[in-house]
C-alpha cells in the first residue's frame, strides 16, 4: 500500500460477532479531500471512531505521519494532529462560541501555539467570526455545524475528520459548508469526510471510498466510483427511468 498522511491497514472491528469494519485498508494523501460514503450501518462513523481512538480495533493497524497510533488514547491522537468534527454537533453549550473554539486552540496538536491568533483564524475560516461572543446554546443547527468545524480546525491538526458536516443543512448552508471545507484544505489541512449528500461529495472530493457492511468496495476518483456497478448496486442505485 502507498504511504500517505494516514494509512489504515487491514483494520477490523467486531461488536459481539458483528463485523462493523472488516479488513479495511487505504491511505490518505496530504492536502486532499477524501469522502467516505456508504449506506447507513456501513461502518463510516465506526471508522472515524477507530482512527480517533474512541474505540479500539479488533485487528489491523493505523499509522499517522508514519507513526503507529493504534491503541493510543484519544487525547494523544489529537495531540499528534488528528481533529474531528462530530456528526451531531457537540458544542460546549454553556460557553460562548469564542470560548468553544479557544479550548480547541488551547489543546489539540502539541507544540508552540498562539491561542488568540488560532482562535480568531479558525472562527474566520469557518465563517462564524461574527458570532464569537454568542452563547453556543443560542446557535442554529447550521451555525453549530460551522462551530464544530471551527473548534476542530483550531486544534491545528493536519487531518480533519468531518462526520456528515452537511447533514440537516439547506442548499445554501450546504454550499457555505463546502466553501468552508475548501478553505480548510487550502490552509494545508487534509480533509476526510463522511457524507450522504452526493452532489456535495461529487463536487468537493478528490477521491471517494465506499463502504458497505464494513467492507471497502470501491476506492477512486468521483467519476470512477459513480460508474462502479458494485457501488450503484449497494448505495447509489440506478437512475429512475423517465416517464414517457
Amino acid at each position: 500500500m502507498s504511504t500517505g498522511i494516514l494509512t489504515v491497514d487491514r483494520l477490523s472491528k467486531n461488536f459481539r460477532g458483528l463485523a462493523a469494519i472488516a479488513e479495511v485498508s487505504f491511505a490518505i494523501q496530504p492536502r486532499s479531500i477524501t469522502s467516505i460514503i456508504g449506506p447507513n450501518g456501513a461502518g463510516k462513523s465506526t471508522l472515524f471512531n477507530l482512527i480517533t481512538g474512541y474505540v479500539e480495533p479488533s485487528a489491523g493497524e493505523i499509522h499517522f505521519h508514519g507513526r503507529r497510533i493504534t491503541g493510543l488514547a484519544t487525547n494523544r491522537i489529537a495531540e499528534l494532529g488528528i481533529a474531528r468534527a462530530f456528526q451531531i454537533a457537540r458544542p460546549f453549550r454553556d460557553l460562548s462560541v469564542h470560548e468553544n473554539v479557544r479550548i480547541g486552540a488551547l489543546f489539540g496538536k502539541a507544540g508552540a501555539r498562539d491561542v488568540a491568533a488560532t482562535t480568531g483564524k479558525s472562527l474566520e475560516l469557518a465563517g462564524i467570526g461574527h458570532l464569537a461572543q454568542q452563547p453556543a446554546n443560542a446557535l442554529t443547527v447550521g451555525q453549530l455545524r460551522h462551530l464544530e468545524v471551527a473548534r476542530a480546525i483550531a486544534t491545528r491538526g493536519d487531518l480533519l475528520l468531518a462526520d456528515e458536516p452537511c447533514a440537516g443543512l439547506n442548499p445554501t448552508e450546504t454550499a457555505a459548508m463546502i466553501d468552508v471545507l475548501r478553505r480548510v484544505r487550502a490552509d494545508g489541512v487534509t480533509v476526510v469526510l463522511v457524507e450522504h449528500d452526493m452532489p456535495s461529495v461529487m463536487e468537493i472530493s478528490d477521491r471517494i471510498l465506499v463502504l458497505d457492511a464494513g467492507r471497502l468496495i470501491a476506492d477512486g476518483a468521483p467519476a470512477e466510483v459513480a460508474s462502479n456497478p458494485q457501488v450503484i448496486a449497494a448505495y447509489l442505485g440506478s437512475p429512475e427511468p423517465e416517464a414517457a
Binding site: 480517533t52 474512541y54 488514547a73 484519544t74 487525547n75 489529537a78 495531540e79 474531528r84 462530530f86 457537540r90 460546549f92 453549550r93 454553556d94 460557553l95 470560548e99 479557544r102 479550548i103 480547541g104 488551547l106 489543546f107 489539540g108 496538536k109 461574527h130 458570532l131 461572543q133 454568542q134 452563547p135 443560542a138 446557535l139 442554529t140 451555525q143 473548534r151 476542530a152 486544534t155
Partner: protein, 323 residues
Amino acid sequence: MKLNPTQTLLAMLAAAVILAFGPLVLPPFYVRVGQLMVYSAGLAVAWAILGGFAGYASFGNAAFIGVGAFAAGLVEGNISGIAPPLLLLVGLVVGGACCGVLSAAISYPILRLRGTFFAIAMLGVSHVCAEVTNNIDFFQGSLGLNFPSVVPGDIDPANYFYWLYLAGGLAVLLIAWQIRRSRFGAGLLSIREDEDTARMLGVPTERYKRLAFVISAVLTGMLGVIYGHSLGYITTESVYRDDTNLSLIVYSMLGGMGTLFGPVIGAFALVFITQVLLARLLDFHLFATGLLLVILVLAAPGGVLGVTRSFSLRRRPSPVAAE
C-alpha cells in the same frame, strides 16, 4: 461589567482587607457568624475546583475535612517545644499531605464514575473514613481528640480564627482563580461541558480530573485543620458531617455553579440566612431553609451569578439576527 485580571485581583484583596476589619467592629456573635461564612466560602471554592469547574459534584468532601483535622491533631499532639505558628504550619502540611495521598489513591477508581455515581461514591468515602476514625482506637474518633492551642497569648481566639479562616479562604480563592484562568482551568470546563468531546480536542481528561481532585482535597483538608483548631476538640461527628457535604453543593447552586465567585456568594448568603435571619425560628429554620432553596433552585437554576449573566446576554443581539 467584566474586570481584567489585575482589577479582579485588586477587588479580591480589597474585599479581604475590608472583611479583616470585621472582628474589630462586630459584636462577638457576628464574629462567630463571620468565621462560619469565610470558612464555608473557602470550603465551597475548594469543592468547586472539581465540582464546579469540572462538573464532578462530590457529595463527600467532609471526608477531607475529617482526614485533615484528625491527621493534624494526631501529629500535633505528639510534638512539643515548638512555637504555636510553627505547630499550626506542621498541622497544615500534615493534614494537606494526608488528604493529597488519600485523594490521589482513590482518584483512579472513583473518577471512572460520573454524575450521580461519583457523588454517591464520595458520600461512601466520607462514611468509610468516619467509620474508620470512629472504630479504630488509634484515631480517637469516638472519644475525641484535643488540639494544642496555637492562638498567640494576647489575641482573642474568636478573632484569631476569623482571620485565619479569612487568610485560608483567600488563599483558596486565589488558587481557584489562577486555575480558572489557566489552560488547566479551560480543560476542566471542557470536561464539565462534554468529557468525550474534550478528550477528542486533546484535553488530557484523566490527568486533569485527578489533579483537580487532589488540589480540592488538599485545600479542604487544610481548612479542616484550621476548623479542628478552632473547635479545640474534635470527634468523628464534629468533622464528618453530612450536612457539610450537602451545604457545599448548595453554596455553588445558590451562587452559581461552575463560577469562581458563585460559591463565595452562596456560602455568605446561606450562612447569613440560616445563622442570622432564621436563627430564631428554632426547629422551623431547617424547613424554611429547605423551602427557600427549592424556590431559589426552581426560579434561578444558574444561581445568583446565572441570573446576572442571563441579563447581560439578553442585551446582546441574537445570533440569527447577527448573520
